[in-house]
């Protein structure tokens, strides 16, 4: 609460401006707020002459009658609304555009990623040591899911497939033998149709296991493939679980995109 100042002088109206220059009016205020307000004060107006098309005036009067207000008031109301809208337009439009473009971009990206992930490419991570040193563990690749939409896996392709023994697990191996070919393992080497397969990518000794056993030759059935890990000493592959079908193949391992060596 400010201490109220008083002045004994009766000031001339002409002196008022100078008086308020020197004194803070709030210090002369009587403390209590008056309950009265400027209830009859109307916004300042300026008279203008306006020519409007007759049909516009007729329509305006019709709308005004419906709302039970004078058409001049309605005209001012419409004018005010439009002016407010126009004054806000650049900012609002900019904001709306940004929101709309961001939403479109986000939806497009989502759709693109969903479609890509499901049907075109999928990021995968190499795990385990069966493809070392060509495919180190924890390196990331793109899996080309359309690679075999038309054609078939070829010898040397590295493919991802669902395990015949554990359908929920995916494996990462190289195609070694194609449908109709005879596979044999002897002396640490692979033989396809009786001919030793040149495998510059393989490391370790290729030991026979179940499919085939030593000195045995097995034929790859139609629509099936014989796949082996590059690291022959440390790979669970077709030697253990047999052939995989084309339906098991999810896609062909494509380029490395992360943690590549």
């Amino acid at each position: 609460m400010t201490k109220q100042k008083t002045t004994q002088n009766v000031l001339d109206a002409a002196e008022e401006n100078a008086f308020w220059q020197k004194n803070d009016p709030s210090q002369f205020a009587v403390d209590a707020d008056l309950s009265d307000q400027f209830t009859n004060l109307k916004p300042s107006t300026k008279i203008i002459t306006l020519r409007v098309p007759e049909h516009l005036l007729t329509n305006l009067k019709l709308i005004a009658n419906k709302r039970d207000i004078p058409y001049q008031s309605l005209l001012k109301h419409f004018l005010q609304e439009k002016v407010n809208e126009e004054m806000q337009t650049p900012f609002l439009q900019l904001r709306r555009n940004i929101v709309r473009r961001t939403a479109i971009a986000a939806i497009s990206l989502f759709v693109l990623v969903t479609i890509s992930y499901g049907f075109v490419v999928q990021p995968i991570r190499a795990q385990g040591s069966s493809m070392v040193p060509n495919y180190q563990t924890n390196t990331y690749y793109l899996l080309d899911k359309l690679a075999y939409a038309v054609g078939n896996p070829q010898r040397g392709d590295v493919v991802v497939f669902s395990s015949p023994t554990q359908p929920k697990s995916s494996f990462f191996k190289r195609v070694v033998a194609l449908p109709g070919e005879k596979v044999g393992i002897n002396g640490g080497n692979i033989y396809i149709n009786g001919e030793k397969l040149y495998e510059p990518y393989a490391t370790g000794q290729t030991q026979a296991k179940v499919f085939p056993t030593t000195n045995q030759e097995i034929m790859v059935p139609g629509n099936s493939y014989y796949v082996l890990g590059d690291n022959r000493d440390s790979s669970v592959d077709s030697r253990d679980f047999g052939f995989i079908t084309k339906e098991n193949v999810t896609g062909k391992v494509s380029v490395c995109y992360w943690n590549c060596q």
């Binding site: 008022e16 002369f28 400027f38 009859n40 109307k42």
Partner: protein, 86 residues
């Protein structure tokens, strides 16, 4: 009571003298008008003037929240502004 003058006010005087006050305070007539229409605090001032009209200290805010202080009196249903401060 003299406060009835407040309610009787129907318009604001925008004479050249008031325009100078507006310019000096760097506010617009629209902002001042908004203060009057936004239920400002109105206090009577104890200062007496030879014209016999009471001065009122009006404190309020514009639509955009700018706070203004004004000294006014009411004559012939018109608000006469004699002081504006932001």
């Amino acid at each position: 009571m003299s406060t009835s003058f407040i309610t009787s006010a129907e318009s604001i005087d925008w004479s050249e003298r008031v325009q100078k006050l507006l310019q000096k305070a760097k506010v617009t007539s629209q902002e001042v008008e908004e203060v009057f229409l936004n239920f400002p605090s109105v206090k009577k001032l104890s200062v007496q003037f030879s014209d016999g009209l009471d001065r009122f200290y009006v404190e309020g805010a514009t639509d955009m929240g700018k706070k203004l202080s004004l000294v006014v009196f009411v004559e012939a249903k018109k608000i006469i502004i004699t002081y504006i401060k932001r």
